[in-house]
Amino acid sequence: MASSPLAHGAHHHPALAHQFDTMEQQKESSTLGMWLFLVTEIMFFGGLFLTYVVYRSRFPAAFLLASNSLNVLLGGINTAVLIGSSLTMALAIWAAQVNWRKGIVIFLLATIGLGSTFLVIKGFEYHDKFVEHHVPGPNFNFVEENPNVHIRQIAARDPNLGRHASIFFSLYFIMTGLHATHMVIGIAVLIVMVVLSWKGKYDARYYNPLEMTGLYWHFVDIVWIFLFPLLYLLGAHAAR
């Protein structure tokens, strides 16, 4: 992402960094660099997916009931919103490739809008969880105050249900929280991109940073594509 436009000889594109020989070499280098960063992100979230797999295999019942208490509708809407933002991000890059400068700004703003919608919806979900005392910690209370009679029956026989459910909620908050943090970082980068596109920095000959932001954004979308079924749809079939 060494994109500082160093004036370096007339025939070079202004955005070619001094240590590269051709724009092609610079683009391939930054793409490879970005993909390597995404590999670190895969392993970063991978640790959490491993924890999820291990604990779900140890406490299937508790995970099922805890997942049941999540608002699947909001989760589904969020998934659609995020897929939409991936579309607008891809269209932003398409706009750059066809030299439609205004289009870049439009689609980037759309992506930021959809991303913010996702975070707002996520805020509502967290608020609900907070109100229902499902946030692990001193006042975590999944069993006693739970309106669902079914849960209290099972809890009578399995006192650890509450504790095992708190592990599910810990994982839920860590995974979705980390994902939301990545969304916030993505939106910040997108805002920078909007400003630079507005100034006309990017066109068909040079839109590298846009491509990199796109790769990052699509990756964050893929993480959510896996989070949604694993966290929300796990207990969908169980009786409400």
Partner: protein, 557 residues
């Protein structure tokens, strides 16, 4: 690696080397150093930071060894001792051994050895140094406020529920410094793939580049996992998001899986660059191609890949299932094969070579001997029957010190001595440097050989006080540590001394072959006056123009 373009503007005699602009005298002032994007200057910045932390870690080691002089802990209380050995572990592992060779020697040499003007992302490289220092600041803040007493392994539930020390700020420090390693690793992979000189195919690359490449693969694939693990520990301590808490049904062994998934490949992050340095030293001072170049190159990549499959051998007695222990044990035997290949190939390189005993070569030969012992004891530990007895004893402490101190630090010092003329354009005093190599070798063996015996006798690790019958061996070990300390002090002094008063070294004092030796010492900011074109494989000593050059310049040794 002869290069037709080696002709610099005027003949490189020692005197004129300094008048011509080089990366040291190109710009002056603190800003030119703190905001530099030149990989060579960033390497020097790293050299300073890493040396400071090596000194701090060594101080902690000295305190540990002094404490263990007597069976009853009478130098400091048990709490202080626990914090001192923990800080020794954390500083040495995360702030010295992992960054040392890649960030100092790697940063300086990778562009030079592949004929590039700089790394692919110079700004990211500078960011890597700043991120290292920010992480270091958190850890130093924790140390000065009392440090952490969980051991460098942070095992739960002790680190999450039972330790009331600065676990979160130390974990945050390591988390941030992890990113500096990722930035460097990422930079190296992209540079080695995309910015090699024309004609420099993969099998013409020096072996130091192969091993730095393999190390960067491990860094990129492994470091994020310890980042998430430390994040989980922080989340559990601060936000009660208890994932490893046994009272909630959490499993402490799962923490160990996540921790060792990174921490075993991390020991290969520490040893692989050292192996790369040794391949260079052995080739340069035997003036001969490394025996079985392709085998040594692929052995590096093999270690990087197999290194990820063996972490379970740290948990044979930790409650892991018996069958998983068997799987990890056989995989640990496999990962030892590439290391064996390397040792045999280095030894075979010496056959029919023209060997000189300069200081770097003394360090290299010391490395081969000590690494062999370290590797063989490692395979002993991979054998299930023995590990049950010696796990968590001083046998393990001796094993990994033979690899890290006998291996990585010997190679780091050998590499510094070998490329110091290239870095500073100066020579260090010959006798003192050979003395330091000897002191390090003797001091090291006297420190850690007794610990093998202590380990098999059953003295557990991390003990503040121990049964009296272990005292004699511990006193021997402390004596060795003092010799080792002196051995490490010497280079610090004569390197600084040589910057000011050392003889000028000329461009290629050892008469070595390599792209980095084809340019001036110290090299210009853009590394090469005219970009090199590579037509030969590495270490081609047996050629006409090399012979003439050697007779003409009459190099050292």
């Amino acid at each position: 690696m002869n290069t037709s373009a080696a002709a610099t503007p005027e003949p490189t005699t020692a005197e004129t080397a300094f008048e011509r602009p080089n990366y040291l005298n190109a710009v002056y002032g603190v800003r030119s150093w703190l905001l530099t994007r030149d990989h060579k200057r960033i390497a020097i910045l790293y050299l300073i930071s890493v040396t400071i932390f090596f000194a701090l870690g060594s101080l902690m080691a000295a305190l540990v060894r002094l404490e263990l002089l007597t069976p009853e802990g009478d130098l400091m209380g048990p709490d202080t001792y626990n914090r001192v050995f923990t800080m020794h572990g954390i500083i040495m592992v995360f702030f010295f051994l992992i960054p040392a060779i890649p960030a100092v020697l790697g940063n300086f040499l990778v562009p030079l050895m592949i004929g590039a003007k700089d790394l692919a992302m110079p700004k990211l490289n500078l960011a890597s140094w700043y991120v290292y220092n920010i992480g270091a600041a958190f850890t130093l803040w924790a140390i000065f406020n009392g440090g952490v007493d969980t051991g460098w392994t942070f095992y739960t539930p002790f680190s999450t529920n039972y330790s009331n020390t600065y676990v979160v700020s130390t974990a945050l420090g390591i988390f941030i410094t992890g990113f500096s390693t990722i930035f460097t690793g990422l930079n190296f992979i992209v540079t080695i793939h995309r910015m090699r000189a024309p004609g420099l195919t993969w099998f013409r690359l020096p072996l130091f580049i192969w091993s730095t490449y393999a190390t960067s693969l491990i860094v990129v694939l492994g470091t994020p996992v310890i980042a998430i693990t430390l994040l989980l520990v922080g989340a559990e301590r601060l936000l009660h998001l208890g994932v490893f808490d046994p009272k909630l049904g959490g499993d402490p062994v799962l923490f160990q899986h996540l921790f060792w998934f990174y921490s075993h490949p991390a020991v290969y992050i520490m040893i692989l660059p050292a192996m790369g340095v040794i391949s260079e030293l052995v080739a340069a001072f035997a003036r001969k191609r490394v025996f079985g170049y392709k085998f040594v190159a692929f052995a590096s990549v093999g270690i990087a890949v197999l290194g990820f499959l063996v972490w379970g051998h740290h948990m044979f007695v930790a409650g892991e299932s018996v069958y998983a222990a068997t799987i990890f044990s056989v995989l640990s035997m496999l990962v030892a094969v590439p290391s064996a290949i390397k040792v045999f190939n280095w030894t075979a390189t010496l056959y029919e070579g023209s060997i000189s005993y300069e200081t770097p070569m003394l360090y290299a030969l010391g490395f081969i001997g000590l690494f062999t012992i370290g590797g063989l004891t490692g395979v002993m530990l991979a054998t299930l029957g023995i590990d049950v007895h010696v796990h968590d004893t001083y046998f393990i402490v001796a094993h990994f010190h033979y690899i890290m101190v006998g291996g990585t630090i010997m190679a780091y010092l050998g590499g510094l001595h070998y490329w110091w003329p290239k870095i500073s354009g100066k020579l260090y005093p010959n006798f003192l440097s050979r003395l330091s190599a000897l002191l390090v070798f003797v001091g090291f063996n006297l420190t850690f050989a007794p610990q093998f015996v202590l380990g098999y006798l059953g003295m557990p690790r991390r003990y503040w006080s121990y049964p009296p019958e272990f005292q004699v061996l511990n006193v021997l070990s402390t004596a060795g540590a003092s010799i080792l300390g002196v051995g490490y002090m010497l280079p610090l002094f004569y390197f600084i001394w040589s910057m000011r008063y050392g003889r000028k070294s000329g461009d290629n004092p050892w008469g070595a072959v390599g792209l980095e030796w084809d340019t001036t010492s110290p090299p210009p900011t853009e590394n090469f006056y005219t970009m090199p074109v590579v037509t030969q494989g590495p270490y081609e000593y047996n050629r006409e123009e090399v012979h003439n050059r050697l007779t003409q310049e009459a190099p050292l040794g």
